[in-house]
């Protein structure tokens, strides 16, 4: 019922600011001094919320990456004390600076959780979706601004909850980001806090997704039909439906696991469970597999929540920098919808090894092969869009171009995992880690960086430094591959993903052990490669080259119809009307090589 209150408050807010839809918006603003807190902390403006999401999620991304850099020390040099920070970690995590296996497990579980739920999704949906989507559809704000603010703060609380869990006795959750039962049910207190944190995060994304869908359906400006929406908006639209319908089953599962842990129920606990020779005080009768089903019912659509917004960003940047319309816009839209739909019907391909029957395996193999088709359609459309374009190799374009082969590798290496026979060999090896990291890290993260470089001038009114940007690009591109490519080699050799010593004690891992050091050094260099970005991000806000209102000569409303940065309340001086499809670049006979969507005549 939260949207009830939001409706109420959005009206109050509108009255408080007291502006009409017409042009003298900013004159009146001077009379109403909005307090600092209302303006930057508890703001209901979608742009401020987008920036809040952006900065918070970037910090979480960096934190999650740091956890991994620490883990990589243990994998490359097992049993050796961690330099510099080893002694700071404390005796219950790393006595004498040598990492304990329990702490290694915490790092692994929290790296996954933080990267997915606190880093990539909030950046892709919360930040880019919030900031860009209303601008692209010509809306003055989201449909429920107060709800939007709540969504951010609930996310923030979820993040704090997750961070606090590191300081509990026994540390943070340590049963993997998938929290499989019964292991997670009997784990330390950190798991309970993890579940509570997840309930916050699920609530936040629920509030967000309702808001996004209503905004896209209801607040599109005059003339902006569905087939004139920029692909980015379509991506956010499909993503929101995935979040809306796939997250509740995980919420249910989270509640059930919480009951198992707190109230002693046995939803996921089988009868007669004995751990370390001691019978557990559970009545039993539950099913550990139920957790996996409910978890993957969310977590497979979640993969597309990670990738679709990235595709949306890449679509905008490729159209803009090839100076030609996207190839096959309509097929891309239908592919995205089909992708979203199919993503609900493939979840059990994560579970081929759980002993499910061959009929069910066959069903999920088939759906998994089918879902690769729409991904390939979209990727092919991107490649064909490059053909014959006069490409501008700007920093965002470099990142967007890198996305294509990286996502390609990530997707294609997934095919063997989607078929049960090769999955028997590859299951739970580093091959799996390599596969999904190629999708999410060199894939989605590249696209998200592209988006940051692309929209930065719109948000701040200043360009980011090109030289630092290119340095950041090449460093990231090379070292990301340095981290993840060797994982395929190790995985094919059969090295398990869960080894605390990187495989040192296993005979079959000996021939590929040397890659551990390569990957670890690449990871640390990848960390160094982010320094130009961090410098660029902060310094450009003050010293960057000032830009005009349409810094990239783009056609979509977010770039073409607003000032840089857009007006604080209401976005537009006059709400634009749309007269044409989203990517009218290089139209024959036109004066310029682009025609913005809101321009009536060519």
């Amino acid at each position: 019922m939260a949207d009830e209150t939001s409706k109420h408050n959005s009206q109050k807010q509108a009255e408080g600011v007291g502006v009409g839809t017409h042009a003298h918006v900013h004159h009146e603003e001077h009379h109403h001094e909005v307090s600092f807190i209302r303006k930057y902390v508890f703001s209901t403006d979608h742009k401020v919320i987008g920036i809040q999401y952006g900065i918070t999620s970037l910090l979480f991304l960096f934190f999650g990456f740091t956890l991994m850099m620490v883990m990589r020390w243990q994998l490359a040099y097992p049993g050796e004390p961690i330099p510099w920070i080893g002694l700071l970690l404390g005796a219950d995590r790393a006595p004498d600076g040598i990492m304990l296996p329990e702490f290694y497990n915490q790092l692994g579980a929290m790296h996954g959780t933080i990267m997915v739920f606190l880093g990539v999704v909030p950046l892709a949906v919360g930040a880019f979706g919030n900031y860009v989507m209303p601008l692209q559809i010509g809306a003055i704000d989201m449909a429920f601004p107060k709800l939007n603010m709540m969504s951010y703060w609930v996310y923030f609380m979820g993040g704090v909850t997750m961070l606090v869990s590191f300081f509990l006795p026994g540390g943070a959750a340590n049963s993997g980001w998938t929290s499989y039962a019964p292991l997670a049910v009997i784990a330390t207190t950190g798991q309970t806090v993890w579940l509570i944190g997840m309930i916050f995060l699920i609530t936040s994304s629920l509030l967000g997704s309702v808001n996004f869908i209503v905004t896209i359906i209801q607040l599109r400006t005059h003339g902006l039909t569905f087939m004139r929406l920029p692909f980015f908006v379509w991506a956010q639209f499909v993503t929101s439906f995935l979040l809306l319908l796939a997250f509740p089953p995980l919420e249910a599962a989270g509640i059930l696991q919480l009951m198992d842990r707190v109230a002693g129920t046995s939803f996921f606990m089988p009868s007669g469970l004995v751990v370390s020779g001691i019978a557990l005080p559970y009545t039993g009768g539950g099913s550990p597999l139920l957790w996996q089903h409910l978890f993957w019912f969310l977590a497979h659509p979640e993969v597309y929540v990670l990738i679709l917004p990235a595709m949306g960003i890449v679509a905008e940047i490729i159209a803009n920098n090839t100076r030609k319309p996207l190839w096959g816009y309509k097929s891309m839209v239908y592919a995205a919808i089909f992708l979203g739909f199919m993503s609900f019907v493939v979840w059990a391909h994560h579970m081929f090894m759980t002993g499910m029957g061959t009929t069910i395996s066959a069903f999920f193999q088939t759906t998994t092969m089918i879902i690769s088709i729409p991904s390939i359609i979209i990727l092919t459309a991107f490649f064909l869009s490059l053909w014959g374009g006069s490409i501008r190799f700007t920093t965002p374009m470099l990142f967007a171009l890198a996305f294509l082969p990286m996502f390609g590798i990530g997707g294609l290496t997934g095919l063997p995992l989607g078929l049960a026979p090769p999955d028997i060999h590859l299951h739970d090896t580093y091959y799996v880690i390599g596969h999904f990291h190629y999708v999410v890290a060199p894939g989605t993260l590249m696209a998200l960086f592209a988006g940051i470089y692309y929209w930065y001038p719109k948000v701040t009114g200043r360009m980011m430094n090109d030289m630092l940007g290119k340095l950041h690009f090449w460093g990231s591109f090379i070292f990301l591959n340095g981290v993840f490519m060797p994982m395929f080699i190790q995985g094919l050799a059969g090295v398990s993903r869960r080894l605390y010593d990187g495989g040192e004690q296993y005979a079959h891992a000996q021939s590929v052990l040397q890659w551990n050091e390569v990957m670890s050094v690449s990871a640390w260099l990848l960390g160094l490669a982010q320094i130009p970005f961090i410098i660029n991000f902060f310094l450009s806000a003050k010293n960057g080259k000032k830009v005009g209102d349409n810094p990239w000569d783009a056609t979509t409303l977010d770039m073409a119809a607003t000032t840089s940065p857009p007006l604080a309340h209401g976005n537009f001086e006059r709400v634009p009307e749309v007269h044409r499809p989203p990517y009218e670049y290089s139209v024959p006979g036109a004066e310029r090589d682009f025609i913005p969507q809101h321009e009536r005549t060519a």
Partner: protein, 196 residues
């Protein structure tokens, strides 16, 4: 800077924002309770023995609660209809009744729970009681949420009737949609948990 379609419908969709919003929210609720319902089926099918609900639970009390909740759904829809007919006094009465009935439901639930605890029947006793307590408690939380919203619309929130009657009517309709959904969930929970 008013956000469009908060009180009037957008011509091409025929909906005002909050109505679409609440239906999307309810869609997610369907998936939430769906997952729990699915869990119930799984536990029951896999169980060595499964009690009949009426052997453990109090059917007369639950029947009373069903009657109470269905009645509150009717009073809720009458509250909205009263606003449509511009009868604010009647709205106040019907909305007040809705809240009262919801409170009756919660009180009955409280007695049911404490009777179980007195007989040392806890969520940890067996999977039947586990799912019974979890689902009814979650449903109870939904009732409490509904009571808070309805109380707001009955009390301080009803001032809006004077300033923006259309929007206020919409709010009551949206609160009603949620309330009927909570009723709808109970319509399934009652036979599944108590009668089978």
């Amino acid at each position: 800077m008013n956000i469009p379609y908060t009180s009037t419908a957008r011509p091409d969709t025929g909906l005002y924002n909050a109505k679409l919003g609440i239906w999307l929210f309810l869609a997610s609720e369907v998936m939430l309770f769906g997952a729990l319902f699915s869990t119930y089926i799984l536990l029951r099918v896999n169980a060595v023995s499964w009690p009949h609900g009426y052997e453990i639970l109090n059917v007369p009390l639950a029947t009373l609660n069903t009657v109470v909740l269905i009645s509150s759904s009717v009073t809720m829809v009458m509250a909205w209809a009263s606003l449509m007919m511009k009868k604010f006094d009647k709205y106040k009465m019907y909305m007040g009744l809705t809240i009262l009935l919801a409170l009756v439901f919660l009180v009955v639930k409280y007695f049911e729970y404490s009777a179980k605890f007195e007989h040392h029947l806890y969520p940890s006793t067996n999977t039947f009681l586990a799912i019974y307590f979890t689902v009814t408690a979650l449903h109870g939380l939904h009732i409490i949420g509904g009571v808070i919203v309805n109380a707001y619309l009955w009390g301080p929130g009803s001032k809006m009737w004077k300033t923006d009657p259309q929007r206020f009517t919409n709010r009551v309709e949206v609160a009603g949609l949620y309330w009927h959904f909570v009723d709808l969930v109970w319509i399934f929970l009652f036979p599944v948990l108590y009668l089978l």
